[in-house]
């Protein structure tokens, strides 16, 4: 296989989309947190707990959607926990984010062990997975068909949500108020907007999104929960969100870059390049991307001067 065949294959793009899904959910969750003026630092930890809640919920309800619902519920609960500590009890968001991460890391292993007797994964639960769908007509178009069709329902949901959130934030009164609250609390309060109400709405939506991201990892990407399976996707989502300036389609585009980096890592492994070195790629890409982005932004400010 040559280097070019790595990129110029439908498989590469198919995998990119598959791999961008959890990051897209994470980035959208971060976006909603940030829009409501809440630090998105808890996302990684929330997603990890949700990744466990999915298969467990699926196992007990016997349905994949039961699992997804469980993951979203856990996402909401943890988002509110984070909100309670940072907004009401005045906890430093970074410390609260670290705590949430530690809590999820421990609690998920604890629960996995409690439920399956095994600390590594929930494989023995044989939990249901979210189905992949093949889109008729489009499926048979050459090149595009194999890239676009055949993904998990949740992948399509993530893309749909990118669109719906655009509508929500830019075309509805509620979304408008959330943006106002998040950007300038005093202005929002001066026209009689109840600030906490809209913060809670953001927590609710962001919790759901993080829940979907977690559920995708353990119910679609693979069919079980395994420890630490989010592997920084929540943090990468945070980076993608700021690089996309908080605008959904731009966020999705930056997420796609990370998806490609991930996909590239997988493809390069087939070329017999060292696996571990290649696993660094998405993280290196993130550091470089966020540094360039920040550098440009700080320079623009200086030029204006």
């Amino acid at each position: 296989m040559s280097i070019w065949s790595v990129f110029l294959s439908t498989d590469f793009f198919f995998t990119s989309i598959r791999l961008m899904t959890p990051i897209l959910f994470a980035a959208l969750a971060c976006m909603v947190f940030s829009k409501g003026g809440i630090d998105p630092i808890g996302t990684e930890g929330i997603m990890l707990s949700c990744a466990l809640a999915g298969p467990v919920g699926g196992y007990f309800t016997g349905s994949a959607w039961g699992g997804v619902a469980a993951a979203m519920t856990v996402g909401i609960v943890l988002a509110f926990l984070f909100g309670y500590f940072t907004l009401i009890l005045d906890t430093n968001p970074v410390l609260a984010g670290i705590a949430l991460n530690t809590l999820s890391g421990g609690l998920t292993i604890f629960m996995t062990y409690y439920l399956t007797g095994n600390k590594g994964s929930t494989q023995s639960l044989n939990s249901p997975v979210v189905a992949n769908i093949h889109i008729p007509v489009i499926e048979s178009i050459p090149v595009i068909g194999p890239i676009v069709s055949g993904h998990s329902i949740l992948t399509y949901v993530s893309l749909l949500l990118t669109f719906l959130l655009t509508v929500f934030f830019w075309k509805t009164p509620c979304g408008l108020r959330i943006r106002a609250v998040g950007e300038n609390e005093r202005s929002a309060a001066s026209v009689g907007i109840n600030i906490m109400k809209y913060k809670y709405i953001s927590l609710l939506i962001a919790g759901c999104l993080a829940g979907l991201g977690g559920a995708y990892m353990s119910m679609s990407y693979v069919s079980m929960f395994s420890r630490d399976m989010i592997a920084g996707r929540g943090w990468i989502g945070m980076a993608a969100e700021s690089m996309g300036f908080g605008i959904p389609w731009k966020v999705a585009c930056s997420v796609f870059i990370f998806g490609m980096a991930d996909s590239l890592a997988i493809r390069l492994q087939m070329l017999n390049l060292p696996t571990q070195l290649i696993s660094c790629i998405p993280y290196v890409v993130t550091i470089i991307a966020i540094s360039i982005y920040s550098w440009q932004r700080s320079r623009v400010k200086k030029v204006k001067k």
């Binding site: 670290i98 530690t102 421990g106 604890f110 571990q276 550098w295």
Partner: protein
């Protein structure tokens, strides 16, 4: 004039006691609810670490990495940055220590010293990167440092697997370190080793640096009010970079101390998590180097207790993470007890007024 502790110190102490108490209550409740033999599990957890010299030795050994990462976090966070690369720095410290020990093969203890210095240097590089990116490009140090951690993990594993892999062993185990490249045991019947002494020396040095040098003072001032630091003629960018380097040195050196104190070969396949523990240590020690050993002792005791409990019962070790998380959340929840603080401030102001009256 008599020196009196600042008021906010008491409130922090009180909040911390409360946090420890609440988190332990939560954990005891979990144990009581879940375990089939809750009482014996609890007994193992609470008393277990004291039941034998070896076990108590485990507590002391366990302090070493925690002291190093706790100190690292204190220094890294000092100028107001949230650089979390200490986790990766600790891991790269271990990798670099292993690589240096197996590559150079210097005679006797010299090899150990060189390997440990290499570890410190590797740690410094890891923590320096997010710091320099923050200062030069304003990139969020939180995101870059977290990415660094993953890069350290995979890069480190690649180094070990490609160059130092021992084919006679399990996956990702390195060759044995040369004879003498080890931190010697100092108490018979335990694994307590010179690493603990090095850790205590580090505590002293960091206490000295933070409390007794102009550099420590400047780092603190940058963290508290960088406008004021700049206006006082302090170059805050340089101060930030120096602290990140020192923090990295500590974490990397701690990695080496852990490796040479506890193992004969490199045998990690995941990040050990000591960096994250360092955050809790720093918070419990109220960001003061001199309290770090006590915080480390406390956490190490909890961990050994949980370890003993998990071996003898159905409660997994990870319950410790729950305690840690709850403690971090509650100790840093500054709104708790802020009412009490306000009352105390009013009282103090009144006393001061009285002092003023008396003076006239």
């Amino acid at each position: 004039m008599k020196t009196k502790k600042p008021l906010s110190g008491y409130i922090e102490m009180l909040r911390m006691m409360m946090a420890i108490f609440i988190s332990l209550i939560i954990v005891f409740a979990i144990i009581l609810l879940i375990s089939n033999e809750p009482l014996s599990a609890l007994k193992d957890f609470v008393i277990g670490p004291f039941t034998s010299l070896r076990r108590f030795g485990n507590v002391i050994e366990g302090m070493t990495p925690l002291i190093f990462t706790g100190l690292a976090v204190i220094v890294l966070f000092k100028p107001g940055l949230y650089n979390l690369a200490m986790e990766g720095a600790f891991f790269m410290g271990m990798v670099a220590a292993c690589a240096a020990a197996l590559t150079f093969g210097l005679p006797g203890k010299l090899n150990l010293v060189v390997a440990m210095l290499a570890a410190a240097a590797a740690g410094a590089v890891v923590c320096f990167i997010p710091g320099v990116l923050k200062v030069k490009t304003t990139a969020n140090e939180l995101v870059t440092s977290l990415m660094m951690n993953y890069i350290c993990l995979y890069f480190g594993l690649w180094v070990i697997n490609s160059f130092f892999y021992d084919p006679t062993q399990n996956s990702s185990y390195s060759y044995k370190f040369p004879e003498g490249t080890v931190l010697d045991k100092i108490i018979e019947g335990t694994r307590i080793n010179q690493g603990t002494i090095l850790a205590l020396i580090a505590v002293f040095i960091i206490w000295l640096v933070l409390r007794k040098t102009p550099f420590g003072f400047k780092a603190g001032l940058v963290g508290e009010n960088n406008n004021m630091a700049d206006y006082c003629g302090i170059k805050s960018g340089n101060v930030i970079l120096m602290t990140q380097i020192v923090g990295g040195l500590l974490a990397g050196f701690g990695g080496a101390a852990q490796l040479f104190g506890m193992f004969e070969r490199f045998q990690y396949s995941a990040l050990p998590g000591y960096g994250w523990d360092g955050v809790l240590i720093a918070i419990v020690a109220r960001r003061k180097a001199q309290y770090v050993p006590f915080a480390a002792l406390f956490l190490s005791y909890l961990r050994i207790g949980a370890d003993i409990m998990s071996r003898n019962s159905d409660i997994p070790f990870e319950i410790v993470n729950i305690i840690q998380a709850v403690m971090v959340l509650l100790i840093s929840a500054t709104a708790i007890l802020s009412g009490v603080k306000k009352k105390l401030i009013v009282k103090e102001t009144r006393e001061l007024e009285a002092l003023k009256e008396g003076g006239k």
